[in-house]
């Protein structure tokens, strides 16, 4: 069973500057995405998770044990830091082997695991080159390799897709998704919404040091009472569908266009509306082409929550 992290009323101050405030959260197996703009407190939270920072207030534990200065936990946790920093005069393999040896593994095991990690991130061809000659994408993958090389139960990745080209991003996303298997825990942060969307549906929204919301995207969306769901339906007779549904209490408004054949509903009762819509279409014999929920994505949720 993978470690379960619990933060209770966790807060971190840097002098007078707030890093994180009143965070209570439990993180277990699966991929959890931390989302928030730069300076929101994501890195602070990750550093608290990995025992690099000490809570100013509250507590953070892993399976009930405090994380700060608990070096025995680090056998079970892999951390990929945000900063692009390496021991530049070593080769990729030396870098990995050296860090693995710090965990107390024998030479043979170090070699095997370093080889496996390099293969996993597709860096075997470049393993004997100095890191200072690596491209940005290779460096990012090497950082991930050092985090997974000792095969930890928990993988914590701070902005792992930062600065990568689309191809490298796709590779890293695939690597992270592959690693989630076998009940492992992955915590990944990003300030770019589509990146998190590509990785997970379980998100924690952080802004100005506070958790604004947590859960899967529809759940978070449901929390936002002040902002109704938008459902766009494309069909041959949009006005007829609008007329059929406008009287239902779940429908707050109906709008047509701007494209031909498009009707947009606003609803505060998502579940009721989605029960009603297919029934109405089927009973009236309308030619339905597409149903989308344009604001059911992280960008919309995030904008609502931060009050944009």
């Amino acid at each position: 069973m993978s470690l379960v992290f619990k933060a209770e009323k966790l807060g971190k101050w840097y002098g007078n500057v707030l890093g994180l405030s009143d965070v209570t959260i439990e993180i277990g197996p699966g991929i959890t995405g931390l989302l928030g703009p730069n300076g929101a407190g994501k890195s602070t939270f990750m550093k608290l998770l990995t025992g690099q920072l000490r809570p100013s207030i509250g507590s953070i534990t892993a399976d009930g044990q405090p994380v700060w200065n608990n070096t025995s936990l680090f056998r079970r946790v892999g951390f990929c830091p945000e900063q692009d920093a390496f021991f530049e005069d070593t080769t990729g393999r030396e870098f990995l082997a050296g860090l693995l040896a710090l965990s107390g593994m024998g030479e043979k095991e170090v070699e095997e695991r370093a080889g496996r990690a390099l293969a996993f991130v597709e860096l075997l061809d470049a393993q004997d080159r100095l890191i200072r000659g690596y491209s940005r994408g290779m460096r990012q993958r090497l950082k991930i390799a050092q985090a997974i090389a000792h095969e930890p139960e928990v993988l914590i990745l701070d902005e792992p897709l930062n600065g990568l080209d689309p191809l490298s991003k796709r590779k890293v996303i695939r690597l992270i998704k592959d690693y989630r298997t076998e009940g492992r825990t992955v915590v990944v942060s990003s300030h770019v919404l589509p990146e998190i969307e590509a990785l997970t549906r379980t998100i924690v929204l952080i802004h100005q040091g506070k958790i604004l919301a947590q859960g899967d995207i529809p759940y978070i969306r449901d929390l936002i009472d002040a902002h109704p769901h938008v459902v766009a339906v494309r069909l041959d007779e949009p006005r007829r569908l609008g007329a059929l549904l406008v009287r239902d209490p779940s429908v707050q408004s109906v709008a047509y266009g701007p494209e031909e054949g498009l009707v947009t509903f606003e609803t505060r009762q998502r579940d009721r509306f989605f029960g009603l819509l297919p029934k109405a279409v089927a009973e009236s014999g309308l030619d339905l082409r597409e149903i989308t929920s344009p604001d059911d994505n992280l960008q919309a949720v995030f904008d609502y929550l931060v009050g944009k």
């Binding site: 990995t50 025992g51 690099q52 070096t71 900063q83 005069d89 050296g98 860090l99 040896a101 965990s103």
Partner: protein, 263 residues
């Protein structure tokens, strides 16, 4: 803990051997050898004039080895135990491994000291041989070499421990280290009375009381106002200081949070 120290030492040893900085400082350590070669070549070119190789070697040890070389080496390597990792943002790789934090400090310190000792002692021994080729059967010369190597070794051990502590505490540790090395250590050691005992250099020079006998004119000036402590007291003091510096560095490193500059 001991296993952790050894693992850190081993990895740091590999890193430091590869580092460009090590190559630069290895060249600096060659300067006594280069100087000795120049002096020897000059003596060969003027066969009539005698060469007091031991006196010149004494000058090199005191004026260059003790008062400059080991200070510079200890400053740059000692502070890098922690502060270079913070500046380079690589500290994370050490502090997220299953290694106790004191083991990180001690392992890195031990690796740096080992490298510095090899560089300093090898160059000193070679310089000695070059300058004393014609007096290799002179017993006191070997005794002086032994004392010189001991003083340099203890200097490396103690100063590196001090700068490790400084690097653990201060962000601008190198700047402070320069003031300490070439301000405090190189000036206060000449103060009369007990004040000079507040420098590490006083105890190092106390290990070389025979230097003045070899060449009174030059070395009396260099040992100006030195009121040496007994050798055993000097060694004990240096070892105690080293232990205290390292203990403090480990204690602080285990409790301090290190933040990286953004950007």
């Amino acid at each position: 803990m001991a296993g952790g120290v050894f693992r850190v030492l081993s990895f740091t040893g590999r890193l430091v051997r590869r580092a460009r900085r090590t190559k630069v400082f290895a060249f600096l350590c060659l300067l006594p050898v280069i100087l000795a070669l120049i002096v020897r070549a000059k003596a060969l070119a003027s066969p009539g004039r005698g060469l007091d190789g031991l006196a010149i070697f004494g000058n090199i040890i005191v004026a260059f080895g003790l008062q400059f070389l080991i200070l510079i080496l200890a400053l740059f390597f000692g502070t890098s135990v922690v502060s270079e990792e913070v500046e380079g943002k690589t500290l994370t790789y050490w502090t997220t491994r299953p290694v106790p934090k004191p083991a990180v400090v001690l392992g890195k310190y031990a690796a740096f000291v080992a490298v510095l000792l090899v560089l300093v002692l090898a160059s000193t021994a070679v310089a000695f041989l070059i300058l004393n080729l014609d007096r290799l059967d002179y017993g006191p010369a070997w005794s002086f070499l032994g004392k010189s190597l001991a003083a340099l070794s203890l200097g490396v051990v103690c100063y590196t421990a001090f700068f490790t502590l400084v690097g653990t505490v201060l962000k601008k540790s190198v700047l402070f280290g320069f003031f300490f090395s070439f301000g405090w250590e190189n000036i206060v050691q000449y103060f009369p009375g007990s004040t000079q005992k507040f420098t590490v250099m006083h105890y190092l020079k106390s290990l070389l009381p025979g230097v003045g006998e070899t060449s009174p004119n030059v070395l009396q000036f260099l040992m100006f106002r030195l009121d040496p402590s007994p050798a055993w007291a000097a060694v004990l003091t240096l070892l105690v200081l080293t232990a205290v510096f390292l203990a403090l560095a480990c204690w602080l490193f285990g409790r301090k949070e290190y933040l990286f500059d953004e950007g």
